[in-house]
Symmetry: C2
Subunit: 348 residues, 2 copies
């Protein structure tokens, strides 16, 4: 594009508040990769993940992020959105709990209050319980949304569904003790938590009418993803400048202590680096290629059929496309970023 | 409305990430006040406050929040949005700095790097410098957006524009020393920081075509505002359940300390309650009536004219309306919430 062409204002709705697993998008924004592609990207956050498919599906937001299973569920409800690429591949999901709770196997939920995010989570828990031969009234389920850590800390639930690279780390931070996790995929023999993969989405209509913009968006995001994977510290500093509330606040402070009846001043560490930890633990789950993974869509489709969570026949192959993902095996000779990932040559 | 009527999906774009000054909106959401009015409110956050007027003005989001001065600026650029009520009245704004920097008057910015949020902030700083007789090259201005605290901590600026009830508290939290502030309104003899008042907005077209929805939204929000003002602790707990990352993490932990060569374990406090502090310091600035304040609009309009920041003649009286704000002096006999603010009677 000509550098003087006007930028196209494009709205993008995240699937939650801006958090470490959104780093590639903010890196691309901060470094001007979207602008270089002619896009003025307005990144919005949702305060209720359940709103996203409807807002993107109606076209009120141009593009966004949503988990695999919800894309199928949207299709089932007549909301037609296309998964045009992947941000996160299968972050492991399961029941998290304070280690002191002593849960070691699924049947240990007997007598416990079990938190779930939404509709599907409850179905998964109840199904696993049935498979394990538990009576339906031998445990209690409580809807807590994404805020499982807070619900455990408030004493509303004993355990609940969270990510190994997110809520489990939050729980460890706040309790100061190790947190355990029973992986839903392991209990179900799925092989991995494909239903939680986080995808780039747009309405079918937007995807069909704006292929140049979608391809440009994915190219810019892929350049940033390369930085996240190869220069994670550089990417994290970008993310913290864009979202300072994620920055580590770890620091040494003076506190008054009493040892053997004697008062003294000691230097101790305070603050939190929980978001930095979440970022580090998320690195393995970022999609390096941004490709929809065929195998995962097949698994999710089969899993939905097994759980009977969809009202209609939904063919999982109709809800995603890799057509506009860069680097699909077509040689371009030119690298995505002149001078390599960080563009060091062009910066000199 | 009949309880069985379908809810109207309505999108609402906050002017920043969900933070303590948005508490009334989340209280209304959590308590089902919007649903009772027939509204399914999807609350979205922006990651770039500069995007909001365009997104709301284009109708991509139905309603949102924006500061007074930006509503006039939008009008000036041909984006027609209406301020249909007030969330925050005049939170004091100014140059914040670590007390150890020794700034006591405006001319102390000589030799300093001064951060500003956007376009208008730079004009205000340069105007004050001119009034104070400072040479334009005797200080440096740096655009830092809303993240002035982080820019000071990173050493990018020495001082910058922030709110007394927000960034000043963040700076105190992170540095452990008092932070000072030179109020822009005082330096300018304005009487108060009207330009920072945060307003409920919609496009003119949305406002005219959806008066029932706007009136319903404002009624529900006003009910929540009453709870914030009269039962601030109850409202804050609602806010933390909706946004757990704002909850205080203050807690006692064991740390190993060495005093006079002797190792011992001491109990010390860690964690942060900075958002709770921000909330407490914001209480005086919440608009109890949600009314647009005529006097403030007049001041902002005059201030914009004085600074020559608008290209066109913009009459500030054309960009706001109190028509749909509840409790405009018309007796309804019925309280907004049966049983009083917390609805205690109906809960029994």
């Amino acid at each position: 594009m000509a550098p003087s062409a006007p930028l196209k204002k494009t709205t993008f709705l995240l699937n939650w508040y801006a958090n470490p697993y959104h780093t590639p998008i903010f890196v691309a924004k901060k470094r001007g990769f979207y602008e270089e592609e002619g896009i003025d990207l307005a990144i919005m956050e949702t305060t209720n993940p359940s709103d996203v498919t409807e807002i993107v599906g109606s076209g009120a937001a141009d593009m966004g992020l949503k988990a695999m299973i919800h894309i199928l569920a949207a299709k089932d409800r007549g909301i037609n959105i296309t998964s045009m690429g992947a941000l996160l591949d299968e972050p492991p999901t399961g029941l998290i709990f304070k280690a002191s709770l002593g849960i070691t196997k699924f049947t240990d939920i007997v007598g416990k209050r079990v938190g779930y995010i939404g509709h599907f989570g409850k179905i998964m828990i109840d199904d696993l319980a049935k498979q394990a031969g538990l009576a339906p009234d031998s445990y209690t389920t409580v809807r807590v949304g994404m805020n499982v850590t807070d619900a455990i800390m408030r004493g509303v639930i004993d355990t609940g569904i969270g990510f190994t690279n997110f809520q489990r780390l939050e729980l460890e931070e706040l309790t100061g003790e190790p947190a355990g996790m029973l992986r839903i995929d392991e209990c179900n023999g799925l092989g991995c938590c494909c239903f939680c993969s986080v995808m780039f989405v747009a309405s079918d209509a937007y995807f069909q009418k704006n292929k140049d913009t979608v391809a440009a968006f994915l190219r810019a995001t892929r350049r940033a993803m390369d930085i996240v994977i190869e220069y994670p510290d550089v990417a994290w500093e970008d993310m913290c400048i864009m979202n300072p509330r994620l920055r580590s606040t770890k620091r040494m402070v003076n506190v008054e202590v009493e040892v053997d009846g004697k008062k003294a001043t000691a230097r101790v560490e305070t603050g939190s680096d929980v978001y930095e930890k979440i970022y580090q633990r998320t690195l393995p789950y970022f999609s390096r290629t941004l490709l929809n993974v065929e195998r995962d869509w097949a698994k999710v489709g089969d899993f939905c059929k097994y759980l009977h969570v969809l009202e209609n026949e939904v063919d999982q192959h109709t809800v995603y496309s890799n057509e506009l993902v860069p680097a699909m095996g077509k040689a371009s000779v030119e690298p995505l970023t002149p001078g390599g990932v960080l563009g060091l040559v062009s910066q000199q």
